[in-house]
Symmetry: C2
């Protein structure tokens, strides 16, 4: 049994397993600015839509995490990539999010992006904030008490940015 995590493009065969990763995280309403009551079809329509590249992190045919990449804007901002990453609860602590972040930066450069931006890193999600900072992302903005956290009420959200090339 290998313990190597590989990251590859998602296929339509992965949808059930991607939903298994998304559902418990989205339903908390604590870390993602996405509806906590989305059903499987709504969540997958967003996560795997045709304007995004969607990837899965896999180990021994088990999907441990997933991320998407898309342009964060158009025109003068079209060189900036935006990503969203979710690691399955069972796979926490294995560096999967870090590996997806690294992979996404390489992939972004390959696709011609020169920067990456996260538009809503919830300030209470301290593990994510620290991880992105370790990867060289700066907090370039704070939306004050802007994120309606399911259990903590209105909390700050950060905009994080990294120049890639």
């Amino acid at each position: 049994m290998s313990s190597v995590v590989t990251i590859r493009s998602a296929t339509s065969q992965d949808q059930d397993r991607i939903w298994e990763i998304l559902e418990p995280v989205l339903s908390t309403g604590e870390t993602y600015a996405l509806p906590s009551n989305w059903n499987k079809e709504e969540a997958l329509a967003f996560w795997c839509d045709e304007n995004k590249e969607t990837f899965v992190a896999e180990c021994d045919e088990t999907i441990l995490g997933t991320y998407f990449m898309k342009p964060n804007g158009m025109g003068g901002l079209s060189h900036i990539a935006n990503c969203g990453y979710i690691t399955g609860y069972k796979a926490r602590g294995r560096g999967v999010a870090s590996q997806m972040c690294e992979h996404s930066q390489s992939k972004a450069l390959e696709l011609g992006y020169t920067a990456m931006q996260y538009n809503c890193v919830v300030s209470t999600n301290t593990g994510a904030v620290r991880l992105w900072q370790r990867w060289g992302f700066d907090i370039v903005g704070t939306l004050p008490k802007a994120f309606n956290h399911a259990t903590q009420g209105m909390v700050d959200a950060y905009i994080m940015y990294k120049k890639l090339s």
Copy 2:
């Protein structure tokens, strides 16, 4: 002849005149993170799409400016409105943008939003920055050298935010 500017919801009858406002501004690539080479259909498909409320500022049956409003996010950010405003070149200096900004804040409250966010105020667009600041918007973030300005190269872009209620 009245000189009162009124703001109302756009209709399909306004499309040609909205394009006359958008085209010269978008084509410069200096102030909007939208493709500078969009044709009429592409620009109107964006500006007047079904997920936005689109308004026009009108005086004596001439359209002087237009703005849209949409949610800036989903889930925990769905209470934040996002708007884009464009005043026609011929109507500059008459306070049309200011009037549209005021109108949009009232409309946002009416629609249940509690805050408003602009995601890309180009730093070189000093008139806009000052106007939004006068209306109580704060610069809550700076995307460093992130906007590819058609004539000035990479310039800072601001994220501006105002709590409405």
